[in-house]
C-alpha cells in the first residue's frame, strides 16, 4: 500500500510516495540520503537513529514514514549551516566527546531536544536526556561535559566542570 506524504525535513518540505512499512529511518537514509541517523539495534534501545519530530527526540526506527506526515523532522544534517557547526556539535568536537562516532548523531539530536525545551539543564537532566543513547566508546563523561558547556546558565556550566 502506498501513501502520499508531506514532511518538512530540516526546514524543507518534502513530498513523497511511500510504502506503509517504510520506517522514518529508512525514508531519511534511503530516499533522502540523510545518513546521519544510524540503525543500531532497530528496537528503540540504542538511540543511534534519534531525530527530532516536532522538536521531540524519537527513535526513527520505531516510527513509520507515513506517521511523520504533516510533521517537522530535524536530523543532524539540519543543524549546521554550511561549515558552521551547531554549538552542540562544536562542543562535542572541542571536548573530543566521541571515538567511533556511530552514536554521535543520535546523542547530538537528544541534546538538541533537551536544550530546546530546557536551555540550562542540570547534569542529572543531561544524563537523563541521553540515557536512551548507548555509547560503547566514551564512557559518557566527555559527552556530558560537552553538552553541559553549551547550556546557557553559567551556574550549571560550573557544575559541569566539577568532574
Amino acid at each position: 500500500m502506498l501513501h502520499n506524504i508531506e514532511i518538512t525535513v530540516n526546514g524543507k518540505l518534502v513530498k513523497a510516495r511511500v510504502s506503509s512499512h517504510m520506517r522514518l529511518l529508512d525514508f531519511l537514509r534511503e530516499e533522502l540520503d540523510l545518513i546521519g541517523a544510524k540503525e543500531g539495534c532497530g528496537k528503540g534501545e540504542c538511540g543511534a537513529c534519534t531525530v527530532l519530530v516536532d522538536s521531540k527526540p524519537v527513535n526513527s526506527c520505531l516510527m513509520l514514514a507515513v506517521e511523520a506526515n504533516g510533521r517537522e523532522v530535524l536530523t543532524v544534517e539540519g543543524l549546521s549551516e554550511g561549515d558552521s557547526l551547531d554549538p552542540i556539535q562544536q562542543s562535542i568536537v572541542d571536548n573530543s566527546a566521541l571515538q567511533c562516532g556511530y552514536c554521535t548523531p543520535g546523542i547530538v539530536m537528544s541534546a538538541k531536544g533537551l536544550l530546546l525545551r530546557n536551555p540550562s539543564p542540570t547534569r542529572d537532566e543531561v544524563v537523563e536526556a541521553i540515557s536512551g543513547n548507548l555509547c560503547r566508546c566514551t564512557g559518557y563523561a566527555r559527552v556530558i561535559d560537552a553538552i553541559m558547556q553549551v547550556s546557557v546558565s553559567s551556574e550549571s556550566q560550573d557544575k559541569g566542570s566539577e568532574r
Partner: protein
Amino acid sequence: MLLPFDYVRAQSKEDAVSFAIEAGPNGRFLAGGTDLFVRMYDRQQRPKTLIDVKEIEGIEGVECRNGQGLSIGAASPLNMLVGNTTIRSEYGLLAQAAHSVGSLQVRNRASIGGNICNASPAADTAPALLVYEAEIETWGPRKPRLIPISEFFTGPGSTILEHGEFVYKIRIPQPDTKSYGVYLKLGRTNSVDLSIVSVACLALAGGEVRIALGAVAPTPIRVREAESILLSRKDEEAIALAAAAAKETAVPISDVRASDRYRLDMVEVLTKNAIEQALAGLAATGEV
C-alpha cells in the same frame, strides 16, 4: 526493515472498529508502536494491517475534571503524563511509573493505552492504575464498555478486549482524600530496562494503603492481603507483615532477568520500602 503490511488511519472510533473487522485476525491497532514494531522487527508478529488510532478525536490528551478525576486519552504519549502538572501533583505515582518506562525517545511515542494493551506482567503503568482503581473505557463492535483495571488483564500479553475493541480512554477516579504514592522499580539500570520487580504503593489520608505488584505474576496484581494488614495499624511490625504477605501472594517466574527466588525476596524488600516511603510522604503533607 519491517515486512510489508497495509497502514490505515482511523479518523473516528467507528472507522477504527470497521477497519479492524475488515482486517480480521491479521489486523492490529497501532498507537505509539514501541512494542509492536519491535515484535514485527523480530518477526514475532506479522500483522497484515495496522490501524492507526492516534487521530481519533479525544484519544490523545489529559482532561482533569474538577472533582471527577482524570480522563486520559489512550494514545497519550507517556511523556505527556510525565509533564502534566495535575498528574505530577495529585497522581504522582502515575507520573513516576510513566517516567520509568524505556527512554525519553520511547516515552515520546509510547502511549499509556499501548502499555496496558500490550499486557506485559511488567507494564510499568499497570500497578499505578491498579492502586488508583482506574477504569478502562473501550470502544468496539458492541457497545462501549467501562472495565475496571482489575479485570482488564487476563494473562501475559492478553487482555479482556474482544476482536475489534480498542481502549479509548483511561479514567482515574478522584481519590476521596489526600494521598501519596510511590513507585519502586527494580531493574539492572535506571533507564531502558524492564522491571525485575515493581511495587506501587498509595497511602490515603483515610487510613487505607493500596499496594500493587508488577513482574511477579501472570498479570500485574493488587495484593489485598497485604493491604488489609495495614488497615488498622501501620507500625513497623505491621509493615513487615504486609511485606511478607505481598511476597506470599507473588508467583514469579524465572527468566533471563532474574530467578523466581530473587524476585520473591525483592518483592518483600521493595514492598516494605514502598509502604514506608508512601506513609512518610503522606505524613509530610500533614494529612494523616
